[in-house]
Symmetry: C3
Subunit: 337 residues, 3 copies
């Protein structure tokens, strides 16, 4: 695998991706900005670091990367920094189906996808008169938990809508489901047509994951606006009797993508972000069609990967393993775009 | 160990049990319903899957399982699906003392057991006039956190009792302890007469583990009934200075079982489910006399098992290891019933 | 390494420290009280246990320990049981800079240190008229989360100050930051002049980590005084884009210690205890200049150590590894005091 270089941008899940690539025998390359160089220099599994002024400069490196026989592994920062169109214009082999990006980034299309897959989702309201409270307003471009607004009643809603409309922000109105969050991390292999559950986490969100530490009597007089900014993650496991439903949701998501998006559909890592209610029902509140940050918790394997692999298997390594298999089977085009 | 087959029902902790059995060299067999077949087929460490219409059909398989030299590892679903009597009628070697089941399933007997062991428990009220609020009403047959009722005052209590009495439900009234939950997973080996701490978790309960994410001002106007349905678990560790007390409680639990139940008493996996108050006192709110689901978190070992074993040691594997040792020492009867 | 013995007191992080020492090839010795003997006897990696009546008797063992070629690894219980002066009087090689203890234990000096390092800290109030609520009162000698007082308004503050003054208690008034707690565990090697992130946890505090499980309507009528007593820890990870800031804070802490304290400054394990606000800003609320209990979560490695080491690397083992390297390089004086 020494002839191939796994490359990614220095952010989000880069450490895990390049560690996994090195474990599978690839050369590794990181492209990052100078303020992050000192972080990535600490890790000897990164063979080369290219510094750019800002991530938008990435396209200028294309020729260089093509020469190095690079394969790009995208993560959450790719769309954030390069934009949808920027991703589509990458001419280097790219692990993932770029057509899926349109469906992930558009909240209406994402909703349509999940409904096509017959997956349970929180109600979305189009008619303001139908709204049952509480609800969450989600901006179209919300990432990392920023741009979520909790709204408890009609008065609040009107005020929020007015403000968002003024700023020309697009948003959806989603029923707020009272239940516990659980994020299911999957990998779908187009080579063997199987879905694997790699790990489960929950986001660690500031400030909502701290306000419960103040009792009622001590919250009085404080006005705490709940915010959902993700700064970390913690590990979880799922009740075994609910695993069949978890796998089934994942398989239906993949199948629907092949129908709606294109023949290849969704492949590689993805995450179903769910809320589970007391009747043990999953509500999928969002789907991420790429490696999610919380997979890093299982950098040395999760309870789920240790059922399947007798070695440290992270999501980053699983990706590299898939590429390695594809190369060996001369099917690199099956796993890249 | 190839001559022996470790068998269990397809639910609860089956994955961990059979993975551990395979790691120790046993043949493995799963009995499950068709809706779960696709889940268990994913895992190559399961050598054989037998499909039954429903779990109640299990006894009809006895002859077949005896021929295969099976040893049954029970888990939470055994009592749930086969009932107390159903478990007792199993004629296949069964890892665990069936007499213990009567004591686990009867909340009054469980209370007696813990008191005999001089373990700190929340007060139980028999006289309604003595009740100090808040309290939890626990139905006799409550499992997986269903059938717990939080009651905050006398008015609430009367209403709840009326409703439960109408339905002919038996229940206990237990003081609600304000403190953090911690579940201590132990294994007691009858072969070497030692208790091992295998791992520590907390349950992840819907909806109570999510309501703290709403500040006071946003809960106003909502009526949220707290529920305690377990959908997963998360890992924890315990302050080292509290470990002596944790082991002591476990050893007293085992010792009391030998006195109260029978000579063999409790053996194999069990769990002390505790609440810890700010004075660093444990309150044992329940005891599970079998493998608990949360042990799956440590499928690849916990901080505690890695102190004792230089290999991946899960609770499932620890069970298989005990059986293997028993077979080698020709003491299978010591660890089965 | 068989000629050297790693020794510590039986409490806090002793298990991890001695397991790590054994993994690196050292002899291991534990000094503890008789009530804890049964705990530590369970673990075969402890070669010898010396029982003392109480921890204050420790100095009487000095000659014996010197003969055994002991190196002492201090942890949180050393200051708690032996006091500052007791630690300074230890004549056995001691892993850590004793001059740092004065700076850790004095809250005003700790504040000065962090400000010198240009690290973001919650405001501390010296003038009562400037106080912005809520605040936390922290007693000078507070350990394990005891001695923290949440104060929501001026009336509360006056009452609390009166009570503390009566008891002659020293305390600081710190702004209560609303955000999520995250504890960053670092190791600074004086041999290679590098900081390593070893793991991340959060404390599990009773009762504050349970009160969110009661909805508003059920807290009404209860008076719950929030307390912050640490009884355990849970694992976390940090968003990758915030890692550069985390390492930078750690490096600035070390650099400032060399400037303020002495030439050696802070070395070995330390922990930055932070609160992260919705603008993704760290507030360091405290610094621990020694191994913290939460490192035990990663007794078999953390996602962070597995990026750097292809073996189980705990904080305890990292310490032993540093001592081993120092011995090999004949630089034991560089890592002991």
């Amino acid at each position: 695998m020494k002839k191939y270089t796994i490359a990614t941008l220095g952010s989000h899940s880069a450490l895990q991706i390049l560690k996994g690539a090195k474990d599978e025998g690839f050369e590794t390359l990181l492209i990052t900005t100078s303020d992050r160089e000192s972080l990535y220099q600490r890790f000897p599994f990164i063979d080369e670091i290219i510094i750019i002024k800002n991530f938008q400069e990435f396209p200028s490196l294309e020729k260089k990367l093509l020469k190095k026989n690079c394969i790009i592994i995208p993560h959450g920062s790719f769309v954030a920094y390069l934009g949808l169109e920027g991703n589509k214009k990458i001419h280097i082999p790219y692990f993932g189906n770029k057509n899926v990006l349109d469906w992930e980034s558009n909240r209406m299309k994402q909703h349509q996808w999940l409904e096509e897959a017959l997956i349970n989702v929180p109600e979305q309201y189009h008619n303001l008169n139908e709204v049952e409270f509480p609800v969450i307003l989600k901006l179209y471009g919300a990432t990392g938990g920023k741009g979520y607004l909790y709204v408890k009643d009609r008065k609040d809603l009107k005020k929020s809508i007015q403000q968002l409309t003024k700023k020309n922000e697009k948003f959806i109105i989603q029923k707020y489901i009272i239940g516990v969050p659980m994020y299911l991390q999957f990998f779908y292999s187009p080579l063997n047509n199987e879905v694997e559950l790699i790990g489960i986490d929950r986001r660690y969100e500031t400030n909502v994951d701290s306000i419960g530490r103040l009792p009622l009597t001590h919250q009085r007089g404080l006005t705490i606006e709940p915010s959902f900014v993700v700064v970390g993650n913690g590990p979880l496991m799922l009740r075994e009797s609910m695993l069949p439903e978890a796998y089934s949701m994942a398989e239906k998501t993949v199948a629907a993508s092949k129908k709606l998006i294109d023949k290849k559909g969704l492949y590689g890592p993805f995450c179903l972000e769910t809320i589970i209610t007391p009747d043990q029902k999953f509500y999928v509140i969002e789907i991420s069609t790429r490696i999610v940050a919380g997979t890093f918790l299982f950098q040395h394997g999760s309870p789920y990967t240790w059922l399947m692999y007798d070695e440290h298997m992270s999501m980053g390594r699983r990706i590299a393993r898939e590429i390695k298999l594809a190369i060996k089977q001369q099917k690199l085009d099956v796993v890249t775009d």
